[in-house]
């Protein structure tokens, strides 16, 4: 049994979070994600949850830190400039190994930039963003249904590994409406949290949540523990979608909104006799390097084309995975502009011409 | 009757207890050094102690126990 409704992306994220057992939301308004806040403000008390409008994104991420330390399932959401403000708190959350979900509905930058969609926060999301050696799990949905499914998964992953999971959306996904089917009973996987601060009654020791290790040997040991955790996640939590990989000569790499445009291009290209496939990363961290490397080594693959709404960020990880086997081309639009199917098809035609020589 | 005892190794020789004792019977013992390298506080004459706890209350390091 399930419920099928037409909903706006931002609202689906909020609804999904509540269905996943999130009972604490802290946020600050910023376009184009404010509907997540409004939905939470309206609906949280219906499930006995707590909504707080914080004084800033900085305050919000620190409220997340506190609520997560106290054992709560907690969400905050923002957009690029606000996510920049949160980086300190995100680093602290990583160091203290707290579970949390942060949504970034990406807008065009840098600086105040514009309010239209972009993918310019890939580096910030996947390469740390804040100070120190850490990673967040980064998930990139590409449809309203995925916004639901992956938001629920985000909370489960966060609690499973005591890690921050970032949902990297963009303005298009946040604002558009599509049908979404909700499950009636969401299977919630909430582990026990004996480490959480709840008042020390019933315990022999008081719990402390900190990211401070003044002794360098202690801090190095902690860092190695974190890296071990990340190694496990890299082995077990990679998610991607592969299209037409069996006989593609040109392989597109794209995520989120860009990948939706590319789907249609693949069909058009095949009508012209050009065999195009796509690897759509769903987790940006851990990055699906293995499948890209595998496809790169295949005889059939002649070239890669990476399409992003930025000046070239994920393409660096694609190039690393391809490791010089095949040429990797890049095409990007910025400022909030989206590439048209024609622009991408032109890129494919010109690559096809080159590799057919 | 009253008595003060000092946990020598917690003392940092700050002298606050010396200054607040109304009977002026606490000194920093120049003859001794504790494990931190400070001259620890000690009572020169327990018979004069009135157990007011001024010293213990002023001590930032919980060095002093007072009995009465």
């Amino acid at each position: 049994m399930s419920k099928r409704v037409l909903m706006k992306g931002n609202e689906v994220i909020a609804e999904a979070a509540m269905r996943a057992g999130c009972r604490f939301y802290f946020g600050y308004p910023i376009t184009p994600q404010t509907e997540i806040m409004h939905y939470m403000a309206l609906m949280m008390n219906k499930v006995g949850g707590t909504f707080v409008q914080a004084e800033s994104e900085v305050a919000a991420i620190n409220m997340v830190y506190g609520a997560a330390a106290a054992g709560g399932r907690v969400l905050t959401s923002s957009s690029s400039p606000g996510i920049s403000l949160k980086q300190e708190g995100i680093s602290y959350i990583a160091g203290a190994e707290l579970p949390a979900v942060v949504v970034n509905i990406v807008r065009a930058g840098p600086g105040l930039g514009g309010i239209l969609p972009a993918q310019g926060d890939y580096f910030q999301a996947t390469k740390g963003g804040g100070h120190g050696d850490y990673y967040n799990v980064v998930i990139a949905p590409a449809s309203i249904q995925e916004l639901y499914e992956l938001t629920v998964e985000a909370f489960n992953i966060a609690d499973k590994y005591r890690i921050l999971v970032m949902i990297l959306g963009d303005g298009t996904l946040g604002q558009m409406m599509e049908p979404v089917s909700y499950r009636d009973n969401e299977p919630m996987v909430i582990p026990d949290k004996p480490w959480a601060v709840t008042g020390r009654a019933g315990r022999t020791e008081h719990n402390t949540i900190t990211s401070i290790y003044i002794n360098p040997d202690d801090l190095e040991a902690k860092n190695r523990e974190l890296q071990d955790k990340y190694s496990v996640i890299k082995k077990t939590e990679v998610r991607y979608e592969g299209l037409n990989l069996e006989d593609a000569e040109i392989v597109i790499t794209a995520y989120g909104t860009c990948s939706r445009i590319c789907r249609n291009v693949i069909r058009q290209a095949s009508e012209e006799g050009i065999r195009v496939g796509m690897i759509r990363p769903i987790t940006l961290w851990p990055f699906p390097s293995e499948i890209i490397a595998e496809v790169a080594k295949s005889e059939k693959t002649k070239a890669f084309l990476d399409i992003e709404l930025n000046a070239g960020q994920m393409v660096e990880d694609v190039r690393l995975a391809v490791n010089g086997c095949k040429p990797v081309h890049f095409y990007g639009r910025m400022g909030g502009n989206l590439p048209s199917q024609k622009e991408i098809l032109d890129q494919i035609r010109s690559i096809h011409k080159e590799v057919s020589k | 009757m009253a008595k003060v005892s000092f946990q020598d190794d917690l003392c940092k020789g700050c002298g606050l207890c010396v200054a607040v004792c109304p009977k002026a019977i606490i000194v920093l013992d120049k003859e001794r050094l504790n494990s931190k390298g400070y001259h620890p506080a000690s009572c020169t004459d327990q018979t004069k102690c009135i157990g007011c706890t001024f010293c213990a209350v002023q001590c930032p390091d919980s060095v002093i126990t007072v009995e009465k």
Binding site: V58, N207, T210 | G13
Partner: protein
């Protein structure tokens, strides 16, 4: 003979790392004593901040969370919203609360968050070696006001208690000091009152402690107590700024 004073159960056994004569030690102790004596030690979660007391989660025997610089009131908000039935407090210095954390303290107070904030004002930055604080006095020599704080270029000290008193959500605000027995007992009563305010869900409670920093003031510990009395109290008068008539 019976013991009339000994180390409180509200503190762990770990010796404090603070400088000799630093009155943070007294303030930690009276907060710990109140928690232990009023039976809330097992039901309290404290928030450590950044400064000399960055690691006081090792000193208080209750559950503790360490917060980023200035953010303790926001962290405390998160904790209290998850555990409204537990006591939550923050312990912050003048850099943490009155400089980088001004937004967080004002808004926690304005929201009437049911937490206690213990604000230790020693008019200088300790941990980072003696810079000017928002609460440093005019003419005070610090490592970033080496010629004495000059109002023309470095502005004026901030009276946090008076400022927060303008907010309806803040229901109890008192400024105390720990220079002598009488004042320490009054400070301890203020701490107990602040926790009672939280227990009764009345709103935000705030206690500002005037404290010494012998190392960065360049004075002996006993001399520092005198300097505090003669120079800080005129700028930061002791007393209740909100909730004078509060019966808790």
């Amino acid at each position: 003979m019976a013991i009339v004073f000994q180390r409180t159960e509200g503190l762990t056994q770990k010796p404090f790392h603070y400088c000799p004569g630093c009155t943070h030690g007294i303030i930690h102790r009276i907060i710990a004593e109140v928690m232990s004596e009023t039976g809330i030690l097992d039901h309290t979660i404290g928030v450590s901040s950044v400064g000399c007391t960055y690691n006081n989660y090792e000193y208080f025997a209750c559950d503790m969370v360490q917060a980023a610089h200035g953010r303790a009131p926001a962290v405390a908000t998160g904790i209290k919203r998850v555990h409204p039935d537990k006591m939550v407090f923050t312990y912050q210095g003048d850099g943490d609360l009155a400089s980088i954390g001004t937004a967080e303290i004002i808004h926690a107070a304005a929201r009437g968050e049911k937490i206690c904030t213990f604000f230790v004002n020693n008019a200088v930055y300790g941990m980072t070696s003696g810079q000017m604080a928002p609460t440093s006095l005019l003419g005070q020599v610090t490592t970033t006001s080496p010629f004495g704080r000059d109002a023309a270029v470095q502005g004026y000290p901030i009276n946090v208690s008076e400022m927060l008193a303008t907010l309806t959500g803040a229901v109890y605000i008192e400024r105390v000091t720990v220079t002598d027995f009488k004042n320490i007992q009054a400070a301890k009563r203020a701490v107990a009152k602040a926790f009672r305010v939280q227990q009764q869900g009345l709103g935000f409670a705030f206690v500002e402690f005037l404290s010494t920093c012998p190392t960065n003031w360049g004075k002996e510990p006993v001399e520092s107590l005198t300097w505090l009395k003669e120079n800080m109290i005129p700028q930061y008068p002791l007393g209740v700024f909100k909730g004078k008539d509060l019966v808790v």
